[in-house]
């Protein structure tokens, strides 16, 4: 592990452990939600940032994880976490296997659209059939038991559970990206043809990455259902796929840290533009500020927030050098 990576993890861990001591219920809820989205963003980062597959239907796996958790919880009694969580992950991974096996036959823009189409299919199945409670969504009445009397409920407990999940996912993806498999994925991102020429069956590598990504999105969906105790079809809509894509692009592609930073920045921006104290009645139209920020970030930060350092290192000396060369008489 590099020094900067360790540094990032230490700061993140200490902030996340320390914050609940001083923060209110609202902040705690916000932090939990943002960490869930960070896990979700990490799942997409594995596909977009590490493998170069732009998936525009990630919300389907998130939603399927969440819906599985709610649908398979017993109506009158608590269910075991050891049964519910693997089931949610399995359901999301299974759908990812089907979608991946079919959509990986296409490339580029077509891949983006096919994954979107499969996500829309899942959305309409949940939205239009009585299976998932239709547009109203369904409530989760009894949260699962971890063991004996320990039930996964209460905002502090769910917060720490989510924190642990975030670090496990980060650790797992970190190990994965330094393994032979992870290197092969990066190779596919850079030049798939060359990887094939070197004897890698790239289709299977991409498919495994797709399934892992779906499974992690399923974890995020499961946590989301646990946090709110409620699911509705909107968590499968393409807006969520879009938002999570924004998070990882905003953070900077190609780094796991970028996904986490992006998720937190996106959530902070949302809070900022929604706050009535700063924007008054304009806070109702908070999308305007968010949209303008996204446009500006494309114009100014082509490599995302994570790339700011590189960008400065490259352009600042150049800028300064040019500045010195300017003839002074003109100023």
């Amino acid at each position: 592990m590099k020094k900067s990576q360790l540094f990032f993890l230490l700061i993140l861990a200490s902030v996340l452990v320390f914050l609940p001591q001083i923060s209110s219920e609202y902040v705690l809820d916000w932090l939990t939600k943002t960490m869930i989205f960070a896990i979700f963003a990490l799942s997409l980062e594995l596909l977009v940032g590490q493998t170069g597959l732009v998936c525009f239907g990630q919300s389907a796996f998130f939603g399927i994880g969440a819906y599985t958790a709610v649908l398979f919880s017993a109506k009158v009694d608590h269910t075991y976490l050891g049964y519910l969580l693997p089931l949610a992950i399995f359901a999301a991974a299974l759908y990812a296997l089907i979608v991946g096996a079919l959509s990986l036959r296409t490339k580029g823009v077509y891949f983006i659209m096919v994954t979107l189409a499969f996500a829309q299919m899942a959305y309409y199945v949940i939205h239009d059939t009585p299976l998932g409670g239709g547009t109203d969504g369904i409530y989760l009445y009894h949260k699962p038991i971890i063991f004996r009397d320990l039930v996964l409920e209460g905002s502090i407990f769910i917060y720490f559970f989510t924190t642990i999940c975030l670090f496990l996912v980060l650790g797992f993806l970190g190990l994965l990206s330094s393994s032979r498999f992870g290197r092969a994925l990066i190779g596919i991102k850079i030049n798939e043809l060359r990887m094939r020429a070197m004897g890698f069956e790239t289709y299977w590598y991409k498919l495994v990455a797709f399934v892992i990504s779906g499974a992690i999105a399923g974890i995020a969906g499961f946590l989301f259902a646990m946090k709110d105790g409620f699911v509705n079809p909107e968590i499968l809509s393409w807006h969520l796929s879009g938002a999570v894509l924004m998070m990882i692009i905003l953070g900077g592609l190609g780094h796991l840290r970028g996904a986490v930073i992006g998720a937190f920045t996106y959530a902070l921006l949302e809070e900022l533009f929604r706050s009535e104290i700063i924007f008054g009645s304009f806070s109702k139209n908070w999308h305007l500020g968010l949209g303008l920020t996204l446009i500006l970030s494309v114009a100014l930060l082509p490599k995302g927030l994570f790339g700011i350092r590189d960008q400065l290192q490259k352009s600042l000396p150049l800028y300064l050098a040019n500045f010195k060369k300017l003839p002074k008489t003109k100023l």
Binding site: V109, A117, L288, L294, V298, P302
Partner: protein
């Protein structure tokens, strides 16, 4: 289903398909020629619809014209808007990769939606059908079909034919097609490619807005209308093959029929069916029915 019900559904399917074509045509041209994934294209349809709602009273007061004058004023506004947007935002995206384009155009969607909300509010509004088109045609003993829907189909057909002729038979179309195949080579042959791009983009915006303007009396105007049509138009573009106008025409009619008839015959799965169709076609032909240029 008796003959007249079938006829009405067929007419509805054709009208919906042709309307989709108008929006999708601009999308596929911008996609194919400039290589830009324009998520904000649905917003231009939305802008058009709100133009016909918002402009009508202003036009009636200042110029004193009716429906047609509003259409013309709206069209001029849309061309101007498209030209401006290309100059301010899109011209920076040509060299960037697809993800940056997705991010910026997504940002534009948010901005357009909020500006719409600030200017005209979030309510659903209906737009009146002009009096001279509000009659209906008698079909059989009990059924009627509104003339306005026939008018929409007619205008869409005219525009579609005009677009195909301009693209395949004129010198301008030749330059556009050349530009979509090889930008540098076309430029080196003395074509002002930057102006050409701006022109294509502006007309794409104008056509999408025009579709919104003539659709508004049928669909009414409501927030989020641009986004639902955007996704369907992407389906059309992908089925038809990116960059192919002819493909977009056939695909949008196909979607029009599948959508209309599935809503009548299988209402439970109507939402899913369009996407199933797209997935099947792409698995059979991974780059759409028609490749660009063929």
């Amino acid at each position: 289903m008796d003959f007249f019900t079938l006829l009405i559904q067929v007419l509805n399917a054709v009208q919906y398909g042709l309307l989709l074509f108008l929006v999708a045509a601009g999308l596929t041209l911008i996609f194919g020629m400039m290589g830009i994934i324009n998520l904000a294209h649905g917003s231009f349809y939305m802008i058009g619809a709100y133009l016909s709602f918002g402009l009508a009273p202003i036009v009636a007061q200042t110029i004193g014209g009716g429906f047609l004058v509003t259409l013309v004023v709206g069209l001029i506004f849309a061309i101007f808007l498209g030209y401006l947007l290309e100059w301010l935002f899109y011209s920076y995206l040509y060299e960037r990769d697809h993800l940056q384009q997705v991010l910026m155009t997504y940002g534009l969607i948010l901005v357009f939606e909020e500006i719409r909300s600030l200017l005209l509010g979030d309510d659903v509004h209906s737009v009146a059908i002009p009096a001279w088109l509000s009659a209906s045609v008698q079909l059989g003993d009990i059924m009627t079909y509104p003339i306005y829907r026939l008018f929409i189909s007619g205008i869409c057909l005219l525009l579609a034919a005009a677009m195909l002729i301009v693209l395949t038979k004129t010198r301008l179309g030749m330059m556009i097609r050349a530009g979509s195949v090889n930008r540098e080579m076309t430029q080196s042959l003395g074509v002002n490619i930057q102006f050409l791009y701006r022109l294509v983009f502006a007309s794409g915006v104008a056509i999408a807005a025009f579709a919104g303007m003539i659709a508004a009396p049928v669909t009414s105007v409501y927030p989020g209308m641009g986004q639902s049509i955007l996704i369907i138009c992407f389906v059309v573009v992908v089925i038809g093959g990116i960059g192919s106008i002819r493909g977009a025409l056939i695909a949008s009619l196909l979607i029009g029929f599948v959508d209309t008839f599935s809503k009548v015959l299988l209402p439970n799965v109507a939402g899913v069916l369009v996407y199933v169709l797209m997935a099947t076609i792409l698995l059979w032909k991974p780059s759409g029915l028609f490749k660009a240029g063929s």
